[in-house]
Structures are given as C-alpha cells and as structure tokens.
Amino acid sequence: MKKVPIYIIVAVITFAIGYNVNARYFSNRRPVQPIAFSHKIHAGDNDIPCLYCHIYANKSRVAGVPSVQRCMGCHKVIKTDSPKIQKLTHYWESGEPIPWIKVHNLPDHVYFTHKRHVKAGVECQSCHGDVEEMDVIARVASLKMGWCLRCHMNEEVKNGKDCWTCHK
C-alpha cells in the first residue's frame, strides 16, 4: 500500500492535463471559426470602429453579427485573391449566411442588453478584452455572475445588485 501516493499523484496530474487540453484546444473560449476572421486586421491595423460592423450594439440587446452583405461591401474589391475572402464570396454567392460559432454565450435566464452598457459608456474592451489585438477571437471574461457583480458594485450601478435587473 505504500504505492498509493504515486497513484494519487499520477491521477491528479493526468486529470489536470486532460482538463487543460480541453480548455486550451477544445474550449469554445476560442473556437475554430468557419472563416479565420482576424479582428486584429480589422479593428486594430485598420482602425475600424466596433459599431461599424456590430451595428445594433447601441440600439438593442444584441450587438449584431455583421450581415454577409456588410462584409461584401468591402470585400468585393479588397483582397479578393485571399482564399479566406474567396470562402466568404462563396457564402455570399450561394446565398448562405456564415455559421459563426458563438464565443460569448449567456444562459437564457440572464437578461443582458448591450444597449444599456454602451449608452453608459462602458468600453467594449472592458468585457471583450483587447479584441483589436486578437487574430482569433477569444473570450477573456468568465461571464459568470460574480464577474458581472464585481463591476456592478465597483461602479455603483443603480439597481445593479437587484436580482430583477438581470433575471426577469
């Protein structure tokens, strides 16, 4: 029975390996998107404002994924020789929307609205991270209730601790 510690050590280490492999390579924190879109090129290098593509962020609950039409507005002429753009053109021509994978996904029992946060002057980056430096979009915040509340309490948001503000 003196080998029990070894068994435990091996089990713990391999468990941690399994957990981290999932978190790093299989997590939807940074999923593999149908088109390898780079926020760094768009929002960083070219300085396109967030609201240029996410047009509903200041009007609605949802920020809105840009319509395929909006992508094509530029990419009819820009970088048409890139295979990624050709993939985009293919979607456009076959009349199919791009099936992006959701990175920031809130459960149904949470009521969250972009509009209020944008109107209150919260920077997009304070929740989404430095998107303009990401080649592959990744979630930086946990989106757990504690994380929400930390900000609501620090900023002394009116009714920010009320259950009904987010759970209605």
């Binding site: 080998k3 070894i6 068994y7 091996v10 089990a11 713990v12 280490i13 391999t14 468990f15 941690a16 390996i17 399994g18 957990y19 981290n20 492999v21 999932n22 978190a23 299989f26 997590s27 939807n28 999923p31 509903y56 009007k59 609605s60 609950r61 949802v62 809105g64 994924v65 840009p66 319509s67 395929v68 039409q69 909006r70 456009w92 009349g95 199919e96 929307p97 791009i98 099936p99 992006w100 994978i101 959701k102 996904n105 459960p107 609205t113």
Partner: protein
C-alpha cells in the same frame, strides 16, 4: 521499484483520469451555439427590438383595434391599440388568441384539390396557378354558357372595402348572388331600431354615464356587440364618477357572465322579457313620469301589460316590477339594453321594440347616459346577414341554380340547425370553392381550397357599426409575411378578374388588394370629413393612418330627440310570450343556448388557448356541458358530472351535467361552440353542438334564427364522458370567502362611517 504490472496500472489510471478531466471541463462549458448573421439585413428591423404594427381584430365583429408585437419578422403578441376608441388599449381573450390563428398547425398550408369523394377529406396539393386556373376556367365556362348568375358567393358579415371589391366583382361578372351569413347577427336589433327610433344603424349605448342599467339578456361583457368597449364602460359606470356608483340589474332566465356582475338578477320566464319591459313602461306612464301629449294613448296601448295581469306569466312578483319601474325613472339617466338572449326568441324583434319603448318613455334616447344614435353610414351598403340568407342559398342549391359556390370565412354546416339539411343541398352544387384557411366542416365539402391569409398577414379595413359615439374606421396591414402558401382574399379575386379577359381586367386595374385599399382610402382622404388625421399629402396621411391603426373623430355627437308614435310601437310589440317547439308535457324544460365567451359561434374552438381557458361561470374546459338548477337535478336524481342526454323534437345531444344555481329550475342551458366534426386537432370531436337540435324557427320579418325556441327533456345518458372543470366546489360552504352586503346595507354603512 516499479514493476511492469504497476507501470501498466499507472498508465491505465492516467488515461482514465485524463479523460475524466477532459469530460469535466466539457461539462462545465455551455453548449456550442451558432451565431447566424443576416445575409442582407431587412430594413426597419433591429434584432432584439420589437416592431409593433397596428391592425384590426377579426375574431368577432366588434371591430377592436390591435397592435401586434413582431420581433425579427415574427408575431409574438397581440394587444389592444391604446389609441383606438372602441377598445382603448384593451383586448379580450379571443383577440389575444389571434396569434394561434396565425401559427395554427392545422392551417391549410397551400391550395388543395379534392381527389377522393366529396366530403371524404382527401386532397392533393396544387400550385396557386393551377388552383386559380381551375376556378377561372369554370367561371369562363359559366360566362360562355350565359349562366353567370349561377355563381354564388357566401362570406361572413364582412365590412369595409373588401366587401366593395367582392360586390363589384360579382356585379361585373353578372351575378347578383353575393350572400353574407353570420349566426350571431344584429338583424333583429337593426330592424327594431329602424321601425321605432328611425335609425337602421346600431346605436352606441352610453353605459358609462348611466345611473341605472337594465340589461335584458344582453351579455355585453361576454359577446354582445362590442364586449371590450362595454366592459370598460361598465367599469366607468361603477367607479368612473366620484360619488356615483351606477346600479345594474340583469334580466334573463340564465345568469350570464355579465349577469354575475349585476347588483340584481331577475330570472324571468324565457320569452317574457319584452312583456316585462312593457309592464315597466306601463307603470312609468301610469305614474305620470312620461309627460308627452300622447300619454293617454300610450296608457291605452300598454294597459294590457298591467303588472297585475302579466306578473304571473313573467314569473316575478308585482312588487318587483313596481320597484324596477320606480328605479328606472328616479334620478336618471337610466338605460335599458336588450340583446343576445332576448333577441333570439321568435318574438325577438317585439322584445327589442319593447326595450326601445321603455327607453323612449323614460326619456333615455339621445341623451348622455342613454342610447346615442349613430347616423347611417353612407359609405357602405350593409348586406342583410340573418339565417334566411342561408335558407335562400340552400333552396337555390336544391333547385340546381348554383353551378359554383365560393365560400369565405363562414362555416354554415356547423352554425345552421341540422334540421335545415344544408349538407344535402350543398351536394347539388357542381363546384364548391373554399377560401378558408382552416379545414372546417364546410371546407371539407369543397372541391377546391384556395386558402386565404389570416388577419395578421393581410390588408383590410373595417367600419364598426356601433362606433364609439362617433364613426370609427380601422385599418389592417400585414404585420408578418405569410407563414404558409396563402393569398389575400382580395388578391384572389383580383387574380381571377385578371384571368377573365381584358374587358374584365379593365375594371380591376389594381396589382394587389393593398393597392385597391390605398386607392379607396384616397376617396376618404379627399372628402376629409373632419378627420382626426390632417396631412397635406395623401402619402403622409396614409402612413399616419397605418401608424395609428385607423381614423376617428373624437367629437361625441348627441343626436336630437326621437319621436316614437304609439301606432308604430303597437304594431311591433310582442302580444304574447315567445313560442317554443315541443309539448310542455313531453318536453318539460326550456332550452337556452348561448354563445360561449371564448368560442363565439364555434370559430374559436380550434385555438388551444381558448379551449383551455375555463369558462368564467362554470370553470369548465375542453368540452360541452349542460347547466341545470340543483333543485331540478335533485328532483330528477341527477348529480353533477352525470352524462346526460338532452332531447328536443329535432334530435339529441349528450353532455355532462353542471349544477348551476344561476338558472331557472324550468330551464336548461348549453353553450354553443364545441362539437366540431373537423376544424383541426383541437376542435375535432370535442363536446356536442346544441345547434343541431334547434328547430329552424325564424322571426319572419328579418329571417333571423330563433335560437331559444325549443323545449327539451333530459335523461341519463348511456354514453361516458367527464366534466372537466377547474373549480372544486362552487359554494363557499360557510367559509366566508365571499362576504357580501346588500346595496341598502352598504349605503347605511357609508352613513355611519
């Protein structure tokens, strides 16, 4: 130290726990969701933000305005239009359930052509081109054979510009046979008003401002005329004026939902309501509360309604009649209204005239808190809609006068008494085309089904008869794109017109019914009759009209005095109580059938929300029931929930018994609406249809069906069935749940406090 065995064990353990770690992390993550963008974003749509479109409720003929909440192009909720003067932002359950009309899984999803035998319900899907070409081919044949008059059209009591289009289509085609039919129609009321107070229009009853309301059988909070409007007025009557609480007495053999809100229920013998009204009128004249020059002549005419003589027949005490008369004249304004039950006897018109006489003698016509007369709307010629229209249609069918019948928004096989044998008559028609969106009983007989849009998908407008003390027009616009492969009714007729040759097409140049409607409203814009919307250009007017949901002129017009002569009244008032089929020895009970507050004439039975909504008086869901007084039931040794057979001279129905203290011991009541043989999964084979056992008895002056005109007998049925109700017991069993004080005690308490 580590032998081969242990090494393998460790490898195994390591593998398993790596997997466990992986799976645990996986389980902690929310499931992968896709984020699908628009290909091309629609205009005016912001995902997550609702768009509201104003429209018209078509679940009954009250003409309420609605607003429909749509998100990302889907209708989510219907509410009352807060700007609309008829319902002022409120909406009843039927209106709310309009959403389930749109999304009903039993809708006819595209044009169908019959393949099996007629009535067997076997259809094949066809395209709109094919469907329309079958019908237009048939119509061309009729024209070539010079038999254009053999095209018949039957619709519900449509109002508004759709009727104009249908009328002009039929005129251009050369057929005068456009019929309208509605089970619950106001033809008796219109007739009674036109012979007494000289207005063929339906007046507006100013319930909100009256001090005493005598309602003779009118279920004005459930189904009568404009229930949302009058329920609101009722609230205003009770609580809308500081210090004044209007008193309300309901006179009917079976306590309706409206009756349950009354201060007092007067359960008169069925068919004697009009006599009671005249008896009260007699006392008013006798006590010299009527000061007209012709008081003496009224006195002579009303003499035979002296309470001492008729109280026995009405079955209430002479003293009670005296009290009602006293209340009616003291401290007006007071108002008597009559409808539903009262109008549905074979002396219905007489009863309604009697109510008008009472209002006239008490000076309640044309005054605040009384009957406000509406002028006759000259924009549209109203069609006559009573039951007689249906008998005419049936007779023509039997004589072979109908080659082609087009049906829209009507289900006569369900709403006509089976004694009429309409089904057999329809068999004689070579081509029946239904434009119904649902496979109802009559549509099941059709050879071709060209399904129409529902009201959330189509254009339209409506001009409610009763108005809101002034004229009200409501506009309907598509709130969502069509859910299925359907077309607007107007569009179907415009497409037919286009296919009938250039001569025909010339008269109908519009590309769609929406264009037709817009053109028609240009005329109203040009007339600009003191409209609530004033704009410089028509386009601005039109967009504001659609945004507001209609057009109305909030300037209450109190019409002038009315002169009712004794002669006019005396030729129409009831000389006797209503007649009932069936010998009173063999058939001891009066049968009262009434419109279910959710299903109306049966049209709401396919909507699950309405099926599961407990009836307000009995709490019964999902079925038909028979109401009987507990005393009578004890006498017959029947108990609640027993399946019983109700037999009239014309047939029998089976339904479970509900013991209802709010009904006279000599009367049984059954709600209308259930008992469909088709009409979708929610309506089919549920309950029984009491219309099937009614005699085809009509008031000959209008041809309106007398719904309450038969006696019945009841037996225990051999069939099995359950009474499904929400309530445990209707009695409070001494628990003091509902504590009450009488009106007089209440007044005394007020003084002491």
């Amino acid at each position: 130290m580590l032998n081969r065995r242990d090494f393998l064990k460790l490898i195994g353990l390591g593998g398993v726990s790596t997997g466990a770690g992986f799976v645990l992390k996986e389980a902690m993550e929310p499931p992968v969701a896709k984020l699908i963008p628009y290909l091309v974003p629609p205009e005016d749509t912001v995902p997550g933000v609702a768009n509201w479109y104003a429209g018209l409720c078509t679940q009954c003929s009250a003409g309420c305005g609605v607003i429909t909440k749509t998100m990302e192009g889907r209708a989510k909720k219907i509410e009352g239009n807060p700007l609309h003067p008829i319902n002022r932002g409120k909406l009843c359950a039927r209106g709310q359930a309009g959403l389930q009309v749109l999304y009903n899984p039993d809708r006819v999803k595209g044009p169908l052509k019959r393949v099996g035998k007629r009535g067997e319900g076997e259809f094949r899907e066809v395209s709109w081109e094919e469907g329309l070409s079958i019908l237009s081919g048939n119509l061309k044949d009729l024209t070539n054979r010079n038999e254009a008059g053999k095209l018949y059209l039957l619709t519900s009591a449509l109002r508004g510009h759709l009727t104009s289009l249908l009328v002009s289509f039929m005129d251009s085609f050369g057929s005068s046979n456009y019929f309208q039919y509605e089970l619950f129609n106001n033809s008796n009321l219109i007739y009674a008003n036109s012979v007494t107070i000289g207005s063929g229009a339906i007046p507006d009853y100013d319930i909100a401002n009256t001090r005493l309301l005598l309602s003779f059988g009118a279920d004005f909070m459930g189904t009568w005329l404009s229930p949302v409007r009058y329920a609101r007025s009722y609230g205003d009557m009770r609580q809308g004026r500081p210090g004044v609480r209007g008193r309300f007495v309901q006179i009917e053999p079976r306590l309706s939902m409206t009756g349950a809100s009354a201060d007092e229920w007067v359960p008169v013998r069925p068919g004697t309501e009009g006599i009671l009204a005249l008896s009260i009128a007699y006392l008013i004249v006798e006590e010299r509360h009527y000061r007209g020059a012709d008081a003496k002549r009224w006195m002579d005419m009303l003499k035979r309604y002296n309470p001492d003589e008729v109280a026995g027949e009405i079955d209430i005490s002479v003293r009670k009649i005296g009290e009602l008369a006293e209340e009616f004249v003291e401290g007006g304004p007071s108002l008597a209204i009559g409808g539903d039950n009262l109008a549905s006897y074979d002396n219905g018109i007489g009863n309604l005239v009697a109510v008008n006489v009472l209002n006239y003698l008490a000076g309640s016509i044309g005054h605040k808190g009384g009957v406000l007369l509406n002028g006759k709307d000259k924009t549209f010629k109203r069609k006559s809609v009573p039951y007689a229209q249906l008998t005419k249609l049936g007779d023509s069918a039997l004589e072979g006068d109908i080659e082609t019948l087009i049906l829209y928004n009507t289900n006569p096989l369900f709403t006509a008494p089976s004694g009429m044998k309409l089904g057999a008559s329809l068999e004689n028609i070579p081509l029946i085309v239904s434009l119904s969106s649902f496979m109802d009983e009559t549509t099941g007989m059709a050879d071709l089904i060209l399904p129409a849009h529902t009201s959330l998908e189509d254009w339209g407008d409506d001009f409610a008869d009763h108005g809101a003390g002034y004229s009200v027009a409501t506009v309907m616009q598509p709130a969502v794109s069509p859910v299925f492969d359907t077309k607007g009714v107007g569009d179907v007729f415009l497409a037919l017109a286009a296919s009938l040759g250039p001569g025909f097409k010339k008269d109908f140049p519009w590309r769609s019914f929406g264009d037709f409607l817009k053109d028609a409203w240009k005329k109203i814009y040009r007339r600009n009759r003191g409209s609530g919307i004033k704009e410089r250009s028509f386009e601005d007017f039109w967009s504001r009209l659609l945004a507001a949901g209609g057009w109305w002129t909030p300037s209450p017009k109190i019409s002038g005095a009315v002169n009712l002569s004794v002669g006019k009244a005396s030729s129409h008032i009831p000389s006797a109580a209503a007649g009932f089929d069936g010998d009173s020895d063999k058939f001891p009970f009066f049968l009262t059938v009434y419109s279910h507050s959710a299903f109306l004439d049966g049209r709401g039975a396919n909507l699950p929300w309405l099926q599961e909504m407990p009836d307000p008086m009995t709490s019964v869901v999902w079925g038909t029931w028979v109401e009987m007084n507990p005393k009578t039931a004890r006498h017959l040794s029947l108990k609640e929930g027993d399946m019983i057979r109700v037999e009239s001279p014309y047939g029998e129905i089976h339904a479970p018994l509900y013991l209802y203290p709010g009904i006279r011991p000599d009367t049984v009541a059954v709600p209308i609406g259930q008992g469909h043989t088709s009409y979708g999964r929610y309506a089919k084979e549920r309950g029984d249809n009491p219309l099937a056992i009614l005699p085809p008895r009509v008031d000959t002056r209008t041809g309106a069906l007398a719904l309450n005109s038969t006696r019945v007998r009841v037996f225990k049925s051999t069939r099995s069935g359950k009474l499904v109700k929400m309530e445990g017991s209707a009695r409070e069993l001494g628990r003091g749940i509902v504590q009450t004080v009488s009106n007089k005690e209440f007044k005394k308490m007020g003084k002491e406090a």
